[in-house]
Subunit: 333 residues, 2 copies
């Protein structure tokens, strides 16, 4: 390993942790020393980084010392307990959980949208929710031009957003269904194979899920505009990787479809895939493994003035999680 | 067979045709004589009705005589050619295709919404598109109370809406994917297994698909209110049966979630499934094989005044096609 930073990945054995090792390598992140942490259950497992074998350490037994950058993706309760300890020993934590996202003292950063916010950190920077990241990458360039007043969003979210065990559950349920076997449910309350669950995160008294509320609140914080109104329905779909979103945007000023395409074609991190006559539009299976946010089906919504529709797809493990976290870390170096 | 009507099913070997035979039986439709028609390719195949074997006849070789009620589900071009011929020989045609839906001389009927329109027929009554039927059954009771101004709809549509060959394609692609085999595409332009296609019907110059336009235009005609504004994104999902819809409704007058639940609980053909705390909400796999339109996730949309969100699921082969057609036929007897 080269000169550079001492990096820790916390949650090293999860679906996002695995992507983090890949992306640190792909982007030649200046890693001097790499540590892999997980729960006691995974202690001693081996993860690979640039051809080297790294033994997974028990997070609870860590000294938290001599870490420059800690990339956390181990759930909110782990982050709440351990992020402040890493930060107090001098690390900057990039936290992929919901633990600190809405904390006024913690920046919530998408590098294409609000890189300046990262500089204000006090040891912890929050990585937004997967469905929020791809949304703001796609809509921020439009917001800067014509100001978004209101958004209506339906999400189509893949099982990898839940984690590795959900990927396995979709696979096993699908096999059992096709063989006529009984379906086993462990991760989700209902069968996900060949089904849809309008239920992501816990339900709140308002009737919304946590996921639906995050999408609205995190967007306002990242885009630094609390005047944006938004509502959403978040749905889990039987797809392995990539989240998709059907988005209706009502803007203050008018804008044409051609102008939206022009703006998005030069926007950082965005790829416009919008030739419907040739069956070209964003697809989950095409976005999987890619870094960009794909936008298509851009068209005026004639049901209201200054309103437009679009379809936005991105790899939730990469841009929606590991890649965005590492891009945040890159802002620090 | 009892005294009653001489009934023809046109498109007898399709996914909807099969449901028609089941539902005629389940509902004890007064069938005196039943004929099964399909293309020349299916001539001589056997379909079952109430324990009897019925030989499928070649539609093109039919005399169209002595039929009281003809239930068509064989695509728009077949309907355009043959429906008028059946009607001219005295049959009333209930047509499941898009051929005549927007024809001013043809009623477009959902019995829970506009049964009176059926009486004005001149030999042909159109059965609406699957995604429209479940929408209007769910929203019409709300419209009657507080008038809908605008709707934003995202659909999650099952492959059975495309037909029997699409059901097979999802099954085969899923098996090939799990075995690591090459995916074969015949029905859809892209893989549907573990994927999503924002593409149902052909694309129009506006950037919308035919399906998205049908949803808006048919709703206005059935609800007899051209002032309703609507926009939609229609998406094919890897589900076998049942279409799902995330719907945002903006109304003229205000209404509470409790009032909406009360109205829908007493609405014809609607079942409210809305206990999110107990993970009870409409699901495609639960709606499959059922007759009703299931509504849940009812909640206020705080992003606009007088706006609410809901999640609507129904079996697209039954209420979305065969059942609604037979309910129309029941209005005639």
């Amino acid at each position: 390993m080269s000169n550079g930073y001492s990096v820790a990945v916390v949650g090293a054995t999860g679906a996002v942790g695995e992507e983090m090792f890949k992306i640190l390598d792909e982007r030649n992140f200046p890693v001097k020393n790499l540590k892999a942490f997980a729960s006691e259950r995974s202690e001693g497992k081996i993860v690979q980084f640039q051809g080297e074998k790294i033994k997974v350490e028990n997070l609870a037994a860590s000294s938290f010392k001599n870490i420059d950058i800690a990339l956390f993706s181990a759930g909110a309760s782990v982050s709440k307990e351990f992020s402040p300890q890493f930060a107090s020993k001098g690390a900057v934590v990039v936290d992929n959980s919901s633990a600190f996202r809405m904390d006024d003292n913690v920046p919530l950063v998408v590098p294409e949208v609000n890189p300046h916010a990262a500089k204000k950190h006090r040891g912890i920077i929050a990585n937004p929710n997967c469905s929020t990241i791809q949304l703001v990458v796609a809509i921020n360039p439009i917001h800067r031009k014509v100001r978004i007043k209101r958004m209506i969003i339906s999400t189509f979210q893949s099982v990898s957003g839940t984690g590795r065990e959900a990927i396995l559950e979709l696979k096993e349920q699908t096999e059992d269904y096709l063989r006529g076997n009984k379906i086993k449910k462990e991760v989700y309350p209902h069968q996900i194979a060949f089904n849809l669950l309008p239920h992501i995160g816990s339900f709140l008294p308002s009737g919304y899920t946590e996921e639906e509320v995050k999408l609205v609140n995190e967007t306002r914080k990242i885009m630094e505009d609390n005047s944006i109104n938004a509502t959403s329905t978040c749905v889990r779909v039987p797809v392995f990787i990539s989240h998709s979103e059907a988005i209706t945007l009502e803007t203050k000023a008018s804008i044409s479809v051609d102008e939206v395409r022009q703006i998005l074609m030069s926007a950082p991190g965005v790829v416009v895939e919008d030739e419907p006559g040739n069956s070209i539009y964003p697809l989950p299976i095409s976005a999987a493994g890619r870094d960009e946010v794909f936008v298509g089906r851009i068209r005026m919504d004639e049901s209201a003035p200054n309103s437009l529709n679009m379809w936005v797809v991105s790899d939730n493990l990469r841009k929606g999680a590991a890649l965005n976290a590492i891009q945040i870390a890159e802002l620090l170096i």
